[in-house]
Structures are given as C-alpha cells and as structure tokens.
C-alpha cells in the first residue's frame, strides 16, 4: 500500500510530465495546417510513427494517473467514512485501468499491430 506522500509525489511528477508531452503533442499539430493534421490519412500515418505512438501512450498513461488521482482527492473531500473512501479509491483505480486499457487498445489497432 502506497503512503499518501508517495501517491502525491507520483501525482506531481505525472502532472509535470503530462505538461511536457501534451505541449509536444500540440506542437506536432502545427507542423502542417491544422485541418490537414486531422485528415484520416495523416492521423493513421501518425499512429504508424513509433516515436509518436510512444508519445500518445505516455500522454494516455500520465493523464489517466494524474486525472483519476485528482478526481479521487476531490471525492474524498466530499464525505468522510470508510465505505466511501474505499469505494472512491477502488472506483478511480478501476476507471484509470479501464481508460488506459481502452486507449492502448485504440493505439494498437490504429498502429496496425492488432488487426490483420
């Protein structure tokens, strides 16, 4: 079981790292006109670019950890009893894992590794 200080250290580090990777992600949209960057062929091309795939996966993991821990903190302040606290912790961890799994699946499929 992680101590709260360890959780908060992870929270701050993921927040700062997410700031960096999201900035890179936005900058990548600007290397061509914005409307072109969202065209189907260009999006698929991005998913076939391995460094960019790593970047997208990083954004997914970092934001999921940071965001769901933030949500957990907000919900913990609403009520204070053991059932609520355990429920909030378990729910947010489950939701975080589900989002990361679904996002990773999307990245794998778009990359072409998951389908023949």
């Amino acid at each position: 079981m992680l101590r709260e200080r360890q959780i908060m250290r992870i929270h701050y580090i993921t927040g700062l790292a997410a700031l960096f990777v999201v900035a890179v992600h936005i900058l990548m949209r600007l290397i061509m006109p914005f409307h072109m960057s969202l065209q189907y062929s260009n999006v698929i091309a991005n998913y076939h670019n391995l460094p960019y795939v790593v970047l997208l996966e990083s954004i997914l993991v970092l934001l999921a950890i940071h965001g769901f821990n933030g949500l957990r903190i907000i919900l913990l302040e609403l009520r204070q009893n053991r059932t609520w606290e355990n429920g909030v912790t378990i729910s947010t961890i489950a939701a975080m894992i589900a989002i990361i799994a679904f996002g990773t699946r999307t990245i794998i499929i778009a990359n072409g590794l998951g389908v023949v």
Binding site: R3, E4, R5, M8, R9, Y12, I73, L76, E77, L78, Q80, E85
Partner: protein
C-alpha cells in the same frame, strides 16, 4: 469562502489609523448584531440587535460585555484575558474570524457590527463553540518536544539544550500560536473535510519538526501523511490572513510538505545537550 478572502484583503488595504478616524467621525454608538441560538432549549437561530455607546478605545468584546451587562444578560460568550493572549473570544466579526478583544470597533467600516460564532466548529450556544475536535487534532500531532536523551522529569540531573538564534528563528513564529481557532474557522478544507487536521495542528507539526531540540519524526505520523492529512491543504492562505498573532500556518504547511516530498534537504540538526548535575547552576 472567496467572499471572506475578499473582505480580508479589503480590510488590509489602507492605514488602520485613517480607517478608524473615518469610521469614528461623528459616531458615539454602534449597532451590535449578535447571533443567538440555543438548540438545547429549542431556541432557533436569530440575531438580536443592541445599541451600544462607544469610545475611541472600545473593542468588540467591550461592546459585547456592555450589551451583556446592561441589555441582555443571557448572551453566551467566552472570554478571559482581554489582551489577545488566551484565544478564548474568537468569533466572526462582520464575517471575518477575529478575536473580539483585539478588534477595535473603530476598525469596522460600518456602524453595524455583526458577531457570529466561528464556522467549522459545532455550536454550543450563541457565540460559544465546541473546541473538542480542534484540540483532538492538535493533540494528534504530538505538540511537544520529543527527545529521549533529555529526561525532563529527573530533577537530579538538569539538561540544557544548546540552540543558536538561527535555530530558534526556524520555529519561533509558529510558537506564537494561542490556539484561538481562527485559522481553523477560516480554512476552506476544514469546511468540507472534517478529518483534515487543520492549519493550526499542521503548523504545530511543522513547529516541532523544525525545532532542533526535538528528535521525534512527525512526518510519518498518520494524522499528517494520510489521505485526509497535510496533502489536502489547498493553500488558500486564509489561515495566515486571519491569525491575530502573525503566525503563517500556510507557510509552515508548505515547508513541511516540502520536507516530506524531499524537495528540500532535511538533514535535521539536533541541538547539543548539556547535562548539569544537581546543584550546579545553568549559565
């Protein structure tokens, strides 16, 4: 809560003297609105108003005691020292937590002064609140010096800690706390999270952590490093704004968090201990 912070910043602007001159001009009395409630006898909450004559030096506590003496003896109010040392007369005066004995009526902008019990404390009656939870949070951080090498109970062997003025400066400000509960009342986190120790207890945890005479580690304590502990501070800073003794609990909390995060170097210096046998005078 943002309203309280706005009011605090408004009060802090402009010179105190100018404000008192302006507000006292041509005024010989004020209207005191006192919150009244006594749930024990089924009395619902309401405000009573009293016309109170004032002098230049009249404090809100003086005004309340005048009302209690000459208008309505049933007003429930807690006070003791009348000199901002005991911290008993904390209440919300015109919406801001203050000590009634330390607030001059001439500081108030209007001629109507509202006195309400401190928020975030259970109400006992009228302006009197229950400090039980507040003190249990205070006790939970072990607010005393822990040092196994110094047996303060053994009178045969006296001990003396050697501290430099710089060591004292580390915690001196936080040691001025009089436990009046104003910071606890102003804290927005305490308002929503009853398990949060509050600025007073956390500032005391910092005060003893920063004291070189203390060897006990408070950073691992459950009351502090918990999901309702020090990490839930939003750094609103209202605790520091309302403190009548100039303590900065918000700073203490951030410094303690820094130590716990290991963002700041925390090789704690421990004060040298000098033993003196019985009869020798400590110099």
């Amino acid at each position: 809560m943002s309203g309280i912070i706005k009011k605090i910043s408004m009060l802090r602007t402009g010179s105190k003297h100018e404000r008192s001159e302006k507000s006292l001009r041509g005024r010989s009395s004020i209207v005191l609105r006192v919150y009244r409630a006594n749930k024990a006898v089924g009395d619902s909450a309401h405000y009573d108003t009293f016309d109170v004559p004032i002098q230049r030096w009249t404090t809100v506590l003086d005004a309340l005691l005048y009302a209690k003496s000459y208008k309505d003896t049933s007003i429930g109010i807690r006070y003791s020292c009348r000199m901002a040392s005991c911290g008993s007369c904390g209440m919300k005066i015109n919406g801001i937590p203050r000590l009634a004995c330390y607030t001059n009526v001439s500081e108030m902008e209007s001629g109507v002064i509202s006195c309400e019990p401190l928020t975030n404390f259970p109400l006992i009656r009228d302006l009197v609140t229950d400090f039980h939870q507040f003190f249990s949070h205070h006790k939970s951080v072990r607010p005393y010096i822990i040092n196994q090498n110094a047996d303060l109970r053994d009178r045969k062997e006296l001990s003396e800690f050697i501290q430099s003025p710089r060591d004292v400066d580390e915690y001196l400000q936080s040691s001025y706390c009089i436990k009046c509960g104003l910071c606890y009342s102003a804290c927005p986190t305490v308002a929503t999270d009853t398990k949060f120790p509050g600025p007073q207890a956390l500032a005391q945890a910092y005060r003893y952590s920063a004291d070189t005479r203390d060897t006990g580690s408070r950073e691992d304590m459950k009351a502090i490093d918990d999901k309702h502990g020090i990490w839930r501070c939003h750094f609103a800073g209202s605790c520091s704004s309302v403190c009548p003794k100039g303590v900065d609990p918000a700073l203490g909390i951030q410094l303690l968090r820094g130590h716990m995060m290991s963002f700041s170097k925390h090789n704690k210096k421990i004060a040298e201990l000098k033993h003196h046998s019985h009869g020798n005078q400590i110099t």
